[in-house]
């Protein structure tokens, strides 16, 4: 068996290529059906999101992955193969495991640390599982990848800081107001950016959205979206008295909120007033921040926060790598455990076969033995075999999952001559075939 990953992502393919391999759920089901019916394939999972399309296969050892992909996936799709082929990456064995764990940990995402990918992976796995396209290897691998994703999110700060301007605004507002429940938002201007910021604020609990725009009709249209209300642009200062957060993104060439006009609003105010000025040129006079309870953030300040958060995520990504390596080790241990028991069973089976053959020959030579004599000889040989195999059995079980686990298993197979006869049928050599690993030296 071999573990193969073929796919493309935002790192290797532009959007026009990615969209050609974006698969609907029905497409995925159809391809998974083709996988199930293909003799070369044992297991398959398809991960298809807007940023990546990846195909995880467990195939027969003699299978050509590229040919398989072409037959199972590309033949199903109507696109030209050459269009996509240049953008595809192929990873096998341990590299595929590491890639999947990185995807689950959101290290391979366009926005490192984003949370959606873990849910998308789970959906992909659930679909393959329901279709009957997964078995023990991909079941274990994907479940471990979810565990990896969860560990990375809980043990590092990879997803704790905002990396978009609108989220940075929400994060800052929370640092002032703690919770946004009950906070009132005033939108100055009805542009796309202020709408997006207001959307995030409302999703985090902001209770009322008021829109002030020079064109009242546009203000009303936007207010409708947030179930808020629209006011005349001239009423903005009056509205500020009952506002906690202001998002400003007008096309005005001069300040729409000045320090002089604001002074009457904040003079008898205790609660903080928060301005997010995402307009260029700026809408809010920066001197408004001279008032002690007024906080003003322009687009540069927000951008600075985003950049610093991105840098922080990269630091956290290094910590995530350590977790990923630990989980890869866990997967290897599991594979080793999967191999130990069949190895021991084969060893005992071989010993029993030899014993039976030798007994038969001995009985022939010894002539007529009584039933009790036969029993004694049988017990004697059985006891010798058991005692001979006791230590190798224990040592193999002890070694599995350790540094020399692979070497011990492979050495035992070699010494007892189990190599060739059992491999194909009983799924031996999982580690070597699936992860493409060489056994570590026995002298280690």
């Amino acid at each position: 068996m071999q573990l193969v990953l073929i796919g493309l992502s935002h790192k290797t393919a532009p959007v026009e290529v990615r969209e050609s391999l974006a698969l609907t759920v029905d497409d995925q089901k159809a391809i998974l059906d083709r996988c199930i019916n293909d003799d070369r394939l044992n297991e398959a999972v398809i991960v298809s999101t807007c940023n990546r399309s990846e195909f995880y296969f467990v195939t027969r050892l003699d299978c050509d992955p590229k040919q398989l992909f072409s037959d199972v996936v590309l033949d199903y799709l109507v696109h030209s193969r050459t269009d996509i082929a240049d953008y595809l990456y192929l990873q096998q064995g341990e590299a595929a495991v590491e890639h999947l764990f990185k995807v689950a940990a959101s290290l391979d995402s366009m926005v490192v640390g984003e949370a959606q990918i873990l849910g998308q992976l789970k959906d992909a796995y659930d679909l393959a599982f329901e279709q009957g396209a997964t078995a023990r290897v991909l079941n274990k691998l994907f479940r471990l990848s979810f565990e990896t994703g969860k560990r990375v999110r809980s043990e590092t700060n990879i997803g704790s800081s905002a990396v978009s301007i609108s989220y940075a605004a929400v994060e800052l507002a929370k640092r002032v107001f703690d919770k946004l429940e009950g906070r009132r938002v005033l939108l100055l201007g009805a542009g796309e950016m202020s709408e997006l910021t207001a959307l995030h604020l409302q999703a985090n609990g902001a209770s009322e959205v008021v829109v002030a725009n020079r064109t009242l009709a546009r203000a009303e249209e936007l207010a409708e979206k947030f179930k808020g209300r629209a006011v005349e642009f001239d009423q903005r200062y009056e509205t500020l008295r009952s506002t906690d957060i202001v998002v400003s993104a007008t096309a005005a060439t001069e300040y729409v909120i000045t320090k002089e006009e604001l002074s009457s609003v904040v003079s008898r105010r205790r609660d903080p007033l928060f301005f997010f000025d995402i307009a260029v040129p700026r809408d809010i006079d920066p001197h408004c921040a001279d008032f002690r309870n007024v906080y003003v953030y322009d687009v540069d300040a927000l951008d600075g926060i985003v950049e610093s958060n991105k840098a922080e995520r990269m630091v956290e990504a290094a910590k995530a790598e350590v977790i990923i390596q630990e989980e890869i080790t866990n997967f290897e241990k599991w594979l080793e455990l999967m191999e130990v028991e069949p190895t021991i069973a084969a060893l005992r089976e071989k010993a029993e076969g030899l014993r039976q053959a030798e007994l038969a020959r001995a009985y022939k030579r010894l002539g007529n033995l009584s039933s009790s004599e036969r029993d004694t000889v049988d017990k004697l040989t059985r006891s010798i075999i058991n005692k001979m195999l006791h230590d190798p059995t224990m040592k193999l079980r002890e070694a599995s999952g350790g540094r020399r686990g692979v070497a011990a298993i492979e050495t035992a197979r070699y010494l007892y001559g189990l190599e060739e006869e059992q491999d194909a049928q009983k799924g031996f050599r999982l580690i070597r075939s699936l992860l493409g690993k060489r056994p570590s030296s026995a002298s280690e």
């Binding site: 700060n157 640092r175 703690d178 906080y295 926060i305």
Partner: protein
């Protein structure tokens, strides 16, 4: 034996608080609380040990001497208790990194200024007579708790000023993310002051009542009593500005902090100025 036990319990409490401080500071730098509440457990164990130490020392000395060192130990004890009790009623994210080291520092200073065993000078006779009342015990307890609450409130006000300034910066420091939000700081600060001030006032009333009852000479012009009156006025002003005048919070925070400075000055004066009516704890 009692003295030795009290000393052991004291050092257990000190080491526990030191470790709890390290855990809380580590949590704030990691920006993630530990899954197992190590800090809280250490804190509770330390508080129990400190209570035992104070109790054993009191039994050994047949009463608690109001020395500078003991006042600091009592203050640390009250701060830890106030923090734990407040933590039950409201969310106190990451404040442990401020209040627990503060209590630890107080215990450390208490050890530096502590007199050796048996070096406690007795109070003059007329003072002992004036203090021979349960009212004085309650007075000390209430003033200690009042001080603890007001100091916690003031430290929180200082945190408010820092957070408010940092949020204004064009590039807020990453450390800011570890701190509680401005609204949370404000809530704790005002609630603690609102509870601490009446406790402090009640302590003052008891002291004054006792002073009048024993006809202490010129008690009302005693420097420390005048200063404690100023403390009461300062914190009352802060609460008035917050609730009534609706002044901006930064101004109120500065006034609160000024009150804390006065408390510290009073604590130093009370232990170093051997004049007037209020002379406890000067003799060591």
């Amino acid at each position: 034996m009692l003295y030795e036990l009290a000393t052991y319990a004291y050092w257990i409490a000190f080491c526990g608080l030191l470790m709890a401080s390290a855990v809380y500071v580590l949590e704030i730098t990691r920006r993630k609380p530990t899954t197992f509440p190590v800090g809280r457990i250490l804190l509770i164990v330390s508080w129990v040990a400190l209570t035992a130490s104070i109790g054993l020392a009191s039994v050994y000395h047949e009463g608690t001497l109001l020395s500078g060192s003991n006042a600091l130990v009592l203050l640390a004890w009250a701060i830890v208790l106030a923090y734990c009790v407040f933590g039950i009623f409201m969310k106190l994210p990451r404040y442990g990194a401020i209040f627990v080291p503060m209590a630890t520092l107080l215990l450390f200073i208490a050890q530096i200024v502590a007199p050796g065993r048996g070096n406690f000078a007795p109070y003059p006779e007329h003072i002992t007579a004036q203090m021979d009342s349960a009212m004085i015990g309650y007075h000390v307890l209430l003033i200690t708790f009042g001080n603890a609450f007001l100091l916690i409130g003031s430290l929180t006000a200082l945190l408010y000023i820092y957070q408010s300034r940092a949020l204004r910066s064009k590039t807020p420091p990453q450390f800011l993310k570890s701190l509680p939000s401005l609204a949370n700081i404000e809530r704790l600060w005002i609630r603690v002051l609102s509870i601490g001030l009446p406790i402090y006032f009640a302590g003052q009333i008891l002291g004054v009542t006792r002073a009048i009852a024993v006809d202490a000479q010129s008690w009302f012009i005693d420097v420390r009593i005048v200063l404690s009156g100023a403390i009461l006025i300062t914190f009352s002003l802060a609460l008035f500005l917050y609730y009534r005048a609706k002044t901006d919070n930064t101004m109120t925070a500065y006034i609160t902090f000024a009150g804390a400075v006065m408390i510290i000055v009073l604590m130093v004066l009370a232990r170093t100025l051997p004049t007037g009516f209020h002379i406890f704890g000067v003799f060591n």
